[in-house]
């Protein structure tokens, strides 16, 4: 027994992927029972392809090379059918976007029970009982009869976890398990994953989220364009990376960002002011008795769980939606055009049918702006003029978000509502984009309200912060308008 535990559960020798313009350099790893490895990388780094190569589910046109030793058996990486019999029993894959991975027409409990029955080979009754136990163990005892569309993202991920691991697999591969979850739900999923290796299994996690890697601990490998640039114990790699890319990636973690230049003029004047706002949606109070004011150039952070009314507050401030109670006072010298918004998903904020040049020309003609203002702004935002002749779908998300910043800055706004503007961007791009935004806002005396689900980011960047829908205090509109003591942080 002790011998079996010493032997690696998963040993991969020179696994490489090729084809269709993708190439992943040979990669090796060894996981003994109880061990964790996290693959950290940006989108497009090929990290998900490694998971698919191990499982044997690579899309058509891609081929894997190398050898895999899984629970004492040896496989050639390109012999995909042979690994099929390991699925569920030995190898479990926790899917991306659990909402989509659950059958939309089947109740949660049946999706877990079918693994117990058909994979673990239990009787119908035992399978049902085991599924109920799983649900209770995950705090989902009331969710068994629900359909996936009625589950929250975090609940769906727990159901998917139970369904994937019901077959008793000791090797768990989790592919971006926290995609689209907010901070609290993310941490809950991480804790769940950690259980696997605590129970003597091996865990291979694939993520772009440094915080997930930090919390899981174990070993970390950083991937970039199909190459492992650095690997080692999480403690070392995540605190003092050796490689250039690793250093940049860690520096992009909000807690290490440079502190923005402090707000200089804070003379009583405010660009926007809200008095005793109250708003309810679908019978749920989002906020009430909410008052705030934002000074020129000030960055106010706003955080809270999804669905707490952050975006709705923005709509009210911008005049897109009307509050149930209270009033919004906007800087009187400014027209409506002085109040602008940045969107979470940059491509969704542009018409995809026209070149960016066309769209900018439209704006300039509409408001008789000075076209000469574009070039210096593009330089400042580090945008290549050649991008102007592309459509919104043909440039990267980071570039497009900087275009969105450019577009609103042309109107010289005095207030900008930035609704999670970087949540879809990679860490390094996120840092570049936000530091530019803060710098420009200070320079142009534009007040910014920055929404983010990342408390560390808000802590770092914002002069003040506001928390909506604090679940601890039961009150749906607990607002802490405390000054973030930015200058005191290291």
């Amino acid at each position: 027994m002790t011998l079996a535990q010493q032997a690696p559960l998963l040993h991969i020798e020179d696994l490489a992927v090729d084809g269709d313009g993708v190439s992943i350099a040979p990669f090796s790893l060894t996981l003994i029972p109880g061990q964790r490895l996290t693959l950290l990388g940006e989108t497009g780094s090929g990290k998900s392809l490694l998971a698919q190569a191990i499982m044997g589910t690579l899309p058509k046109g891609l081929a894997a090379r190398g050898r895999l030793h899984i629970a004492g058996q040896t496989f050639a990486a390109d012999d995909t059918p042979s690994r099929r019999k390991l699925w569920g029993h030995t190898l479990a894959l926790l899917p991306q976007e659990p909402w989509h991975a659950l059958d939309p027409t089947m109740r949660a409990i049946s999706q877990i029970a079918e693994s117990h029955r058909h994979v673990a080979g239990r009787s119908r009754r035992e399978a049902g009982a085991a599924a109920r136990r799983d649900l209770a163990g995950l705090g989902l005892q009331d969710a068994g009869h629900k359909l996936p569309s009625e589950l929250s993202g975090g609940m769906a991920q727990r159901v998917a976890f139970a369904a994937a691991s019901a077959g008793g697999a000791h090797i768990v591969i989790a592919d971006e398990p926290t995609k689209g979850l907010d901070a609290t739900r993310r941490d809950a999923v991480v804790a769940l994953l950690a259980r696997t290796s605590d129970d003597g299994g091996s865990l291979l996690t694939i993520t772009h989220d440094i915080e997930v890697a930090r919390r899981l601990g174990g070993e970390v490998a950083i991937l970039r364009q199909g190459q492992v640039v650095e690997r080692g114990p999480a403690k070392r790699v995540l605190t003092s990376p050796q490689s250039d890319y690793g250093q940049r990636l860690m520096a992009a973690d909000p807690s290490r960002w440079p502190v923005p230049r402090p707000l200089t003029c804070k003379a009583g004047k405010s660009v926007i002011e809200a008095r005793q706002l109250a708003m309810a949606r679908g019978g749920k109070t989002l906020f009430e008795d909410l008052s705030l004011n934002i000074a020129p150039g000030e960055i106010v952070g706003i955080s809270g769980p999804s669905g707490c009314g952050k975006s709705t507050l923005g709509d009210v401030l911008l005049g897109v939606a009307k509050a149930d109670k209270g009033e919004v006072i906007r800087e009187p010298s400014q027209s409506r055009l002085g109040f602008q918004k940045l969107y979470q998903d940059p491509p969704a904020a542009f018409s995809p049918h026209w070149t960016l040049r066309r769209l900018l020309d439209d704006l300039i003609r509409r408001h008789r702006l000075d076209p000469a203002a574009i070039v210096p702004l593009m330089v400042h935002l580090n945008l290549d003029p050649a991008l102007l002749d592309r459509r919104s779908g043909e440039i990267s998300g980071g570039e497009l978000q900087r275009f969105a910043i450019l577009r609103v800055l042309l109107l010289e706004p005095c207030f900008l509502f930035a609704d999670e503007p970087t949540s879809r961007l990679d860490p390094i791009t996120q840092q570049e984009t936000l530091s530019l935004l803060v710098e420009l806002a200070r320079e142009r005396h534009c007040g910014v309200m920055l929404v983010s689900h990342d408390p560390a980011l808000i802590e770092r960047l914002c002069d003040r912060r506001l928390t909506l829908g604090d679940t601890d205090t039961k009150s749906p509109a607990a607002i802490t308008d405390t000054a973030a003591e930015a200058s005191l942080s290291p």
């Binding site: 699925w87 479990a92 989509h100 659950l102 079918e114 693994s115 994979v119 077959g167």
Partner: protein, 319 residues
């Protein structure tokens, strides 16, 4: 198709009941307009058609006039017309003199038989072929069935029927071309309708199957450890069936239209045939009766589709 998503079954049934009322009103109103637009001496001509040219006299023409309420002012005649309709008093055929309801009763049986065989045949042909094609998108079977479906969709039902007659009745002599009575008579008309229906339902099933088999939940079921067969049975069938059944509702439009022309082509003594005859002969009570029955049949079939969708798709029950 988001047919009735997010509403309870009672609300859906109520909506279908309203639709049935609307159908009755529309048919009643249009046929009433028809009575009013009949050329001047229509009563005489219809009477001549019914009793023969020698027998026609003022009394006979008066009888027809009364039947169609041509002697009353428009408004009261209209309400009388609708009131009769409400009581299902459809009057007598102007051509045969028989009560319309009795004639409809015979014809309905023939039409329902034909339609049932056609739908059953199309369900046997279309969805299974679509499932097989959808499991291997862009494969041989998929391409072949796409070509056949495109050809069939470009041919109206009567042209399909004509081709079938030319091949099986005239060319090979295996089956009778037209008529009614033996089982053999129903093969060609039912096949004609079924081919048109299957051409569409096979593509709907194919697209649904291709979507489902490429979905994340289908892949997850396999990586969970379920075999291909179990994955198909537990996660494929139901998810494919929902759009296929929902689309049947759209296909019933085709079925009703097909019944009209196919019955005419094959001289099948059903309701569609009777409707066309009545229109040619300007037999207003028969036009009203046949159109009403066909319209109500359409509503009824759609109601059945609603109920089946409701049973198949738990999302509808939960919403």
């Amino acid at each position: 198709m988001t047919r009735g998503l997010g509403r309870g079954l009672p609300a859906l049934l109520l909506q279908r009941l309203l639709q049935a009322g609307l159908v009755a009103w529309m048919v009643g109103t249009l046929t009433f307009v028809l009575t009013r637009t009949l050329p001047g001496d229509m009563a005489y001509r219809i009477a001549a058609g019914r009793y023969g040219h020698d027998m026609v006299d003022t009394a006979a023409a008066e009888a027809v006039r009364a039947e169609l309420a041509l002697n009353q002012p428009a408004s009261s005649a209209y309400f009388g017309w609708l009131w009769d309709l409400l009581q299902f008093d459809l009057g007598r055929s102007l051509v045969s003199g028989e009560p319309v309801v009795r004639e409809l009763w015979h014809q309905l049986g023939h039409s329902l038989g034909l339609a049932a065989v056609a739908v059953a045949l199309s369900l046997l042909l279309g969805p299974p072929l679509g499932l097989a094609a959808g499991l291997r998108p862009r494969g041989m079977l998929d391409r072949l069935s796409e070509v056949v479906a495109s050809v069939l969709r470009a041919l109206p039902p009567f042209a399909v029927g004509l081709v079938l007659i030319l091949v099986f009745a005239v060319g090979l002599g295996w089956l009778p071309a037209a008529g009614h009575g033996r089982t053999a008579h129903s093969v060609l008309p039912a096949l004609t309708l079924a081919l048109g229906l299957a051409a569409v339902s096979s593509r709907v099933a194919r697209n649904a199957m291709a979507d489902v088999s490429q979905s994340a939940y289908y892949a997850f079921s396999r990586t969970k450890g379920l075999s291909d067969r179990l994955t198909f049975m537990r996660h494929g069938l139901r998810n494919v069936a929902v759009p296929v059944v929902a689309y049947l509702g759209v296909q019933f439009v085709y079925l009703i239209e097909g019944v009209v022309v196919v019955e005419t082509l094959f001289a099948w003594p059903g309701i569609g045939h009777a409707l066309v005859h009545a229109i040619v002969a300007r037999d207003v009570p028969m036009i009203q009766g046949t159109a009403l029955i066909m319209g109500l049949l359409f509503v009824l079939l759609n109601t059945v589709v609603d109920i089946v969708c409701h049973l198949l798709d738990p999302r509808r029950r939960h919403a």
